[in-house]
Chain length 243, copies 2
């Protein structure tokens, strides 16, 4: 676990390195980006649907999610994020936020000017490839979510969402699927899967009864990773080796 924000910022560079073959000059260009770091408590909004935003946020520590709201009060989480993720790269070219951005746990994040990021993508083709590829993988993940919410049963949906999260967490170097508890609450899982908190709770109970997860107080962890993947029909190819 990185101990300071400067070290944490290296995670993004490391991630981009996996997405395209960067040269040392590319890494240096990233490091030289002016950024400021911040800490936000759980539930803090970094951005709200409709806002005009000219900064990009890089998650350094903790977990966050993006969500959209329906006029009638419905809430749908559209993605979860792990350290190293750029949370809103789209603001490089799209100024109006079509969704909100919220901290799940306490988070550390960096803000970088969208214009600065745009600038380095002009100057450094490898960074352009890596960042563009990142946004394309983002889109691929959304497609999988449409499938997940549209065509899977409640239990499979939940399982799939958990599989994706821990796979991405592991890719970010934060431990194997069974190693750490999951940060999201039943209510958040409900909002991510298009279910109600009540029903999520029942399914979580089932998964616990079958020994797939273990629950203790307001936390839970995966105890049978192979079985969870099986329940979810999880196939990580849609992550395009981002994970």
């Amino acid at each position: 676990m990185p101990t300071n924000d400067k070290d944490s910022f290296e995670q993004v560079i490391h991630k981009l390195d996996r997405l395209a073959s960067l040269e040392e000059a590319d890494r240096e260009a990233m490091r030289s980006l002016p950024f400021s770091t911040h800490i936000a408590p759980p539930h803090h909004h970094l951005l709200r649907q409709g806002d005009v935003e000219t900064d990009c946020f890089v998650l350094l520590q903790g977990y966050a999610c993006r969500y959209k709201a329906t006029r009638t009060g419905g809430r749908q989480i559209v993605s979860f994020h792990v350290p190293g993720d750029v949370l809103n790269l789209q603001h490089m070219l799209l100024t109006r936020a079509d969704h909100s951005l919220q901290a799940i746990t306490e988070i550390h994040f960096a803000t970088v000017s969208a214009a600065d990021i745009k600038q380095i993508t002009q100057e450094r083709p490898a960074l352009r490839d890596a960042l563009w590829r990142d946004t394309l993988i983002d889109a691929s993940v959304f497609r999988e979510w449409v499938l997940n919410v549209g065509r899977r049963t409640a239990k499979a949906r939940i399982a799939h969402m958990l599989c994706e999260f821990v796979t991405r967490r592991e890719a970010a170097g934060l431990g194997s699927p069974e190693q750490y508890p999951l940060p999201m609450s039943p209510a958040q899982i409900a909002d991510a899967t298009g279910l109600t908190a009540v029903h999520v709770n029942r399914m979580l109970y089932d998964l616990a009864r079958d020994g797939v997860i273990h629950r203790y107080k307001h936390e839970f962890a995966i105890t049978d990773w192979p079985r969870l993947r099986q329940i979810a029909e999880f196939d990580a190819t849609y992550l395009h080796a981002a994970a």
Copy 2:
């Protein structure tokens, strides 16, 4: 309606023009891209989940969709496409197809080498912005679909999907929402909304009874556009003025 494929190709250029301010040199660069044109019948697959693809497809005439399949036979359409859309720009940087691509009506399309497209994005920043912006809007649309499938009732889901389609069709210069019938079948609407064909049919019946759409044989058209938008809670800002 363009009468030949060369004229049709101008639609993409026109679309990119709306996404970024192109110079004449940018438009020329697009026109000079080597491409070949093809015709495919309804249901024809341009691409299947898992394929390795190095060409990009540009839709010139007709309608197409992208979908993902679940191992157990479920099918989820993740987007519909109108003439002028690049159907798989992601293959510029991602080689493995994470979804299938299928014609809905008879279509005319052009294939352009992904490498050529990548090349012009290096040489012409305005084209890079336009194309990148296009992929970001694509992602925004997927997010809206996650919300649609996850948090709306059957009728609103269907209405929303129809609203988006006709809005995009109009943006492509193909007539106002009420002007032409819709090309998709109940079964396809079902696959796009995460419902069954049986239930879609019932909802379509309701919408027809309320005078929102008109059905005749295996076609239907919108007859009350304001009411349809209202049922759908449709707000086009997520299309980021692509439409």
